[in-house]
């Protein structure tokens, strides 16, 4: 797997970098002198993802995923891209997020598109596990439970249980889901972008609260340093390698629950290996939307996502939150 990881870090040379095409206005934070050794974050966007009737176009979601992955890997053919992302013959987990209920959970169309591409890349159905905390969260994503190993498995940590032994790093003293520790060789993180009443923003790193037994213990002081600490637990740091973030819909205020009065459609996917850079990028998108509707910054609202800075510090070294140190491509 290390070769594949290396590939992901180095294969992005030919990607389309931000420029006049930028639709989210983030071009200003891009390093114009792109350096292939820098981690990369891709924002792929399709303004027509939701039709005039407000319904999500599933075909366009699949196309958007292909565009995001192709840009990330510099391969035109989706299958070629995926072959370089996932190992063959290993179990791949897709950690979704259904906590917010049906209105603001990882979209089914995205989950199905990822499952389809994985299979096209040679991953057998029985080697794919779609998972979250429990049956309720999974159902919120539009999925039904399946533990038949001949098909794509879909179940929660309420079925697998948690390890008896505690893992710890800093403030995070937790028991991990056995789906992460015993089933998956690699996990693709599929969070959904949301405002968060305590952490400020929830996306890639915060989604790991859904892999532990008592996430409620990790919410003090704006979830900082708990989110960064949690992501340093070896099984999380090493297995959760890639984020395909769902920003198809989002809440810019009132999260992490579903508040339709604060719902909006960025119609985007945010993709990357560097979870800190991904979260930093997601944070900027939330801030821009809040400014657009006249809400104060998260700093002014007394809930800036400080955990992102913490995750990048010398103690954690989970990635970079410095826009000069990662490449942002928007397509």
């Amino acid at each position: 797997m290390s070769n594949r990881r290396d590939f992901l870090k180095s294969a992005a040379t030919g990607a389309v970098l931000l420029g006049s095409q930028s639709q989210l206005g983030l071009a200003a934070i891009v390093d114009k002198h792109a350096d292939a050794s820098k981690p990369k974050v891709v924002i792929a966007r399709d303004a027509a993802l939701h039709g005039t009737d407000g319904q999500l176009d599933e075909k366009r979601v699949a196309d958007l995923l292909d565009r995001a992955i192709a840009t990330y890997t510099s391969h035109d053919k989706p299958v070629d891209s995926w072959k370089h992302i996932v190992p063959v013959g290993k179990v791949i987990g897709l950690k979704v997020n259904g906590l917010g209920g049906k209105g603001i959970s990882t979209h089914l169309a995205l989950i199905l598109a990822v499952c389809e591409r994985l299979q096209q890349a040679g991953v057998k159905p029985g080697e794919i596990i779609v998972w979250d905390r429990n049956e309720r969260d999974i159902q919120a994503c539009g999925l039904t439970i399946n533990t038949d190993p001949s098909r794509i498995r879909v179940f929660g940590s309420d079925v697998s249980g948690y390890e008896d032994a505690q893992d710890s790093f800093g403030s995070a003293k937790i028991k991990l889901s056995k789906i992460l520790t015993r089933e998956c060789a690699m996990v693709i993180n599929l969070p959904i972008l949301k405002d968060h009443s305590m952490a400020g923003v929830t996306f890639s790193m915060k989604n790991m609260y859904g892999v532990v037994d008592r996430p409620s213990d990790l919410h003090g002081t704006g979830c900082n340093p708990a989110i960064a600490d949690l992501n340093c637990i070896p099984a999380i740091r090493e297995k959760v390698r890639f984020t395909i973030g769902d920003a198809i819909a989002s809440v810019y205020q009132g999260g992490p629950g579903f508040h339709p009065e604060h719902l909006w459609h960025p119609n985007a996917l945010i993709v990357g290996e560097d979870r800190v850079a991904v979260d930093h990028t997601a944070w900027q998108i939330i801030e821009r939307k809040r400014a657009e509707v006249g809400l104060p910054t998260l700093e002014a609202a007394n809930r800036p996502p400080r955990y992102i800075t913490t995750a990048a510090d010398a103690t954690h070294q989970l990635g970079t939150n410095d826009p000069q140190r990662f490449r942002l491509a928007e397509v």
Partner: protein
């Protein structure tokens, strides 16, 4: 002797009746605020009611729990509904320590497009949600889709909940 016994039996009976009245009177009224299927036109209750104590509220709403705990939530009840077999919605009833806690939550996060509605002690409606308070109860009703008749349907359901509080 017989008269003496009767006297004491009467006294004991009176004490038992008074005690019974006192105990009954002290009990909080147990309320089921969730309208049954069909009680409100075109609305079906599609799930069992789930109840969360304050300490377990994170299991339901994760980080959102903190603001409710700070406002004095005691229990949270929730149930799913469906309108005309299509529009899915959820009804959450937060029972707070007192009315001020319910008021605090209601005032938090209101936006410019909030429409004041006559529900309980105070309430607002949006195109896809209705929020109101009545006494120490805070009720949030949310539809998962935006449809032309969603708000009217939600308001009808909200009045049904209000009547049961």
């Amino acid at each position: 002797m017989k008269l003496h016994m009767n006297h004491w039996m009467k006294v004991a009976a009176m004490i038992a009746i008074i005690a019974s009245i006192a105990v009954t009177g002290c009990k909080k009224k147990i309320v089921d605020p969730f309208p049954a299927s069909g009680a409100i036109a075109d609305w079906q209750k599609t799930s069992e009611t789930r109840v969360f104590a304050a300490k377990d509220l994170w299991q339901y709403i994760d980080g959102d729990a903190e603001q409710y705990i700070s406002a004095g939530v005691v229990t949270t009840s929730t149930s799913d509904y469906k309108y005309q077999g299509k529009l899915e919605a959820v009804v959450d009833v937060y029972t707070m320590n007192d009315a001020s806690g319910a008021g605090k939550i209601l005032e938090t996060g209101q936006t410019k497009d909030a429409m004041t509605v006559q529900l309980g002690d105070a309430g607002v409606a949006y195109s896809q949600s209705v929020i109101f308070r009545k006494g120490a109860s805070l009720v949030r009703i949310i539809a998962y889709e935006s449809t032309p008749n969603a708000q009217q349907a939600l308001l009808a359901l909200a009045h049904g909940v209000e009547a049961k509080l």
